[in-house]
């Protein structure tokens, strides 16, 4: 059976250990040299970066997240042993793991390291599709001739290089499509290398729960539950037509995934679909002034990101989470798309003013969706708001000042609320 040493990258065949360096860190699979779609997922990325930069943290539980009221964005493996998971509210994480060291995320630094990892991946193939700062799909089909090695060797080399040069470890999932590659990368963490071959796909999926599919959240899960679908085996009993009729396009996708089929390509050019920012408050608030301040800051962040990407949106979205954790979203379609913070803020504010009841909120988010090019945006001023043109001119001027003297060089009073 084809095998590969993960330490010295020597391919070999039957021996239990690497014949060259005697390492036991070996990956072995019948289809090892044939598979080319991979998913790379860094291991506890933010926490690993912090531990790398501060060795004193080495064996301590580390949680990256915002403040007491935020959520966990990453927990290191020590904290995970105590049951801490990402997206868990911070108070709950602290209950499970009271001695955790909490660190505020340093996004700028993470982005730099992510960029370095991306460069390493792009040296292997142009078909790299980042999902976030710390994970990406890679398609290495047809690169064996170029590199002189099959994809498995190159991928093994990639995580080794990440560890040696950046001090960050990642896990690789190798398979014949994106869905299975993503599933595989989670099988052998940390610093793992897992393979799901074509031959074993059906047997592998059988008893697995459908919620392991990326995109099946709580809502889809409960709809599936009502249809009596829990595992992939349950899905296999359904006809394509019935699944589509009941679950729409999601049903079609489930039908194929259950058979281990996923035709999506690894594409480096997946367009951005929306831009949004949200914040969880230090304490719940119903104070309209404070909420207004948050509205403005979120609108400005969204506008900054849209401007940086030369994008604009046709739909403004307002998202709120109440103190009781119920989620409210409101959206408004614009005739004239925008990337101007002032317009995003005013639309979001109008949506906010239309909410029926005033209550305490714990989270507020503002977003732009249905994106288009900035050329198509902010072209048709509002007849009933003749000052809008002057306000957006002022905003453009402010942007130029901030570009030259830093983001805090000039602020709206509203931003200080």
């Amino acid at each position: 059976m084809p095998a590969l040493c993960r330490d010295c990258l020597t391919p070999f065949d039957t021996e239990p250990r690497c014949p060259s360096c005697r390492s036991r860190r070996v990956v072995r699979h019948d289809e090892l040299w044939d598979l080319s779609i991979a998913h790379m997922d860094c291991d506890a990325f933010y926490a690993s970066v912090e531990k790398r930069d501060n060795p004193a943290l080495g064996d301590k539980p580390v949680i990256i997240g915002g403040g007491r009221r935020g959520v966990v964005s990453t927990a290191c493996y020590v904290a995970r042993i105590k049951g801490v998971r990402s997206a868990m509210p911070m108070f709950q994480a602290l209950k499970l793991c009271p001695d955790a060291v909490i660190i505020k995320p340093r996004m700028q630094l993470y982005a730099e390291i992510s960029r370095a990892i991306r460069d390493m991946m792009e040296a292997l193939t142009p078909a790299v599709e980042p999902l976030s700062l710390d994970e990406a799909f890679l398609d290495l089909s047809g690169t064996a001739k170029l590199h002189g090695h099959p994809p498995a060797v190159m991928l093994s080399g990639l995580v080794k290089r990440m560890r040696d040069e950046l001090g960050i470890t990642g896990s690789i999932g190798l398979s014949h499509n994106k869905f299975l590659a993503k599933v595989a990368s989670d099988l052998d963490k940390p610093f793992g290398f897992a393979v799901i071959g074509k031959g074993e796909t059906q047997a592998f999926l059988r008893e697995k729960p459908v919620r392991m599919i990326w995109g099946v959240g709580a809502a889809t899960q409960s709809a599936l539950d009502r249809a009596g679908i829990r595992t992939f085996d349950d899905l296999l009993r359904w006809e394509l037509r019935d699944l589509t009729a009941r679950f729409g396009s999601m049903g079609t996708r489930l039908y194929h995934l259950a058979r281990g089929e996923d035709a999506r390509r690894v594409s480096s050019r997946n367009p951005v679909k929306s831009i949004s920012n949200e914040t969880t408050f230090h304490e719940d608030t119903a104070d309209p002034d404070i909420l207004d301040g948050h509205l403005w800051r979120m609108a400005e962040k969204v506008a900054d990101r849209a401007k940086a990407k030369d994008l604009a949106g046709r739909v403004v979205v307002l998202k709120l989470k109440t103190a009781k954790f119920s989620l409210i979203t409101r959206r408004h379609a614009l005739r004239d798309p925008t990337q101007i913070a002032d317009r995003i803020y005013r639309e979001a504010r109008a949506l906010f003013d239309q909410l029926d009841q005033r209550e305490a909120y714990r989270l507020l988010g503002v977003g732009l969706s249905d994106l288009c090019s900035a050329d198509e945006a902010d072209r048709a001023p509002d007849l009933l708001d003749p000052d809008a043109a002057r306000r957006s001119e002022a905003e453009r001027a402010t942007d130029r000042i901030r570009a030259r003297f830093g983001p805090d060089a000039i602020l709206k009073g509203r931003a200080l609320r």
Binding site: R314, D336, E376, R379, A380, D382, L384
Partner: protein
């Protein structure tokens, strides 16, 4: 109740009723029409709680009474009956059914008690006047295209009907705008309307009202209060709540000092705009107008799909001007012109543009340019 009516009269009354009831109803009684038979009339009443319409039609009443049935079902039945049929409606309170008989057709419909039907509270109207259907039709027909559908600015979801001061005296005026274009239509102030409070007539009411206005010389009785408006012909009474909000001060939006004057045949202009905008695949198709001495070049340049250009002979004597508009808005205002040439008054490429028909100041349109 037992009442017989000629099919055509019944169809007219029921079709008005069924268009008022909401298609998706959570309150069952609101899907029904209230039928009341007394003397020599059958009366049909329907409501969506914002609008109430009452239709009267001549009928042979054998036994007076009242009941309610599904407006949509009754309408469908009557529509499918042969022309000229005599339709008999019989209410059987024992079974709770309404029988509809015509020739050899026989239907039995479920009813709901008439006591459950919500009748709109009558109110005091501050102002009552009468106006010809043709004049009222012009006010609303020419303004309704500019009504906004935006929910955040709900006070724009209707036509603002009010009394205003025009160049030659006071007028009854309708204004609608969605922030991109605006229509302001005037008519002579009818006697009795002087103290009318300004009201925002909702979009749906404007649509229902239109069905009352087909006969030019019909006198329409209009009653207005702060919260309600009522339009009545001898047969039909349409009562509607008005939008509870303040219409923005539109007067400062209408440009007073635009000097660059373009005169163009409206239908030629509209056709040319329609033709050149074909190449654009954008959602808001932008058309560029280049104006020079007696010459107008319309052009569209869509990098992804193509370009188009067309030249029109026009009357224009001012300095060169380039200005862009949403093609749809230009088409809509140009189609309001039906007798004379369209006259556009421009200022600059960033300022609102005014359009009217010849020198007629009683119908004025404003459209906001867009950057091209």
């Amino acid at each position: 109740m037992k009442v017989s009516m000629e099919r055509a009269a019944l169809l007219k009354a029921v079709s008005q009723a069924q268009s008022v009831v909401e298609r998706r109803n959570t309150i069952p009684i609101l899907a029904n029409v209230l039928i009341e038979a007394e003397g020599d009339t059958g009366q049909f009443r329907a409501t969506d709680l914002d609008i109430e319409v009452v239709d009267k039609a001549p009928a042979q009443v054998e036994r007076a009474g009242a009941t309610t049935v599904s407006a949509v079902t009754l309408h469908e039945i009557v529509r499918k009956l042969p022309d000229g049929a005599l339709v008999t409606l019989t209410d059987d309170s024992a079974t709770g059914r309404l029988t509809v008989e015509a020739g050899r057709s026989n239907f039995s419909l479920a009813t709901l008690p008439k006591e459950d039907f919500p009748v709109m509270a009558s109110s005091e109207y501050a102002s009552n006047f009468s106006i010809k259907a043709a004049a009222l039709r012009r006010l609303f027909d020419k303004s309704k295209f500019a009504i906004s559908t935006e929910e955040t600015r709900y006070y724009l979801n209707g036509v603002y009907m009010h009394v205003s001061e025009a160049a030659d005296g006071r007028v009854l005026r309708c204004v609608a705008t969605d922030g991109h274009r605006l229509a302001r239509i005037d008519t002579d102030l009818p006697a009795g309307a002087e103290d009318m409070p300004g009201v925002i007539v909702p979009r749906k009411t404007v649509g229902e009202l239109r069905k009352l206005l087909d006969d030019d010389d019909m006198d329409i009785a209009v009653s207005v209060s702060e919260t309600k408006v009522r339009f009545a012909t001898p047969d039909i009474t349409l009562t509607s709540k008005v939008i509870d909000g303040t219409f923005p001060d539109y007067t400062r939006v209408i440009p007073q000092a635009n000097t660059k004057r373009l005169e163009v045949d409206a239908s030629e202009f509209a056709k040319a705009v329609d033709r050149v905008s074909t190449v654009s695949s954008e959602r808001s198709r932008a058309v560029k107008l280049q104006l020079d001495e007696d010459r107008l070049i319309l052009s569209v340049n869509a990098p992804d799909s193509g370009a188009a250009e067309e030249e029109l002979a026009v009357a224009y004597g001012d300095e060169r001007l380039e200005i862009g508009f949403n093609a749809k808005y230009l088409l809509e205002i140009a189609s309001q012109v039906d007798r004379e040439n369209a006259v556009f008054m421009f200022n600059s490429a960033g300022d609102p543009t005014l359009m009217r028909e010849g020198s007629d100041e009683s119908a004025v349109y404003v459209v906001m340019p867009m950057r091209v």
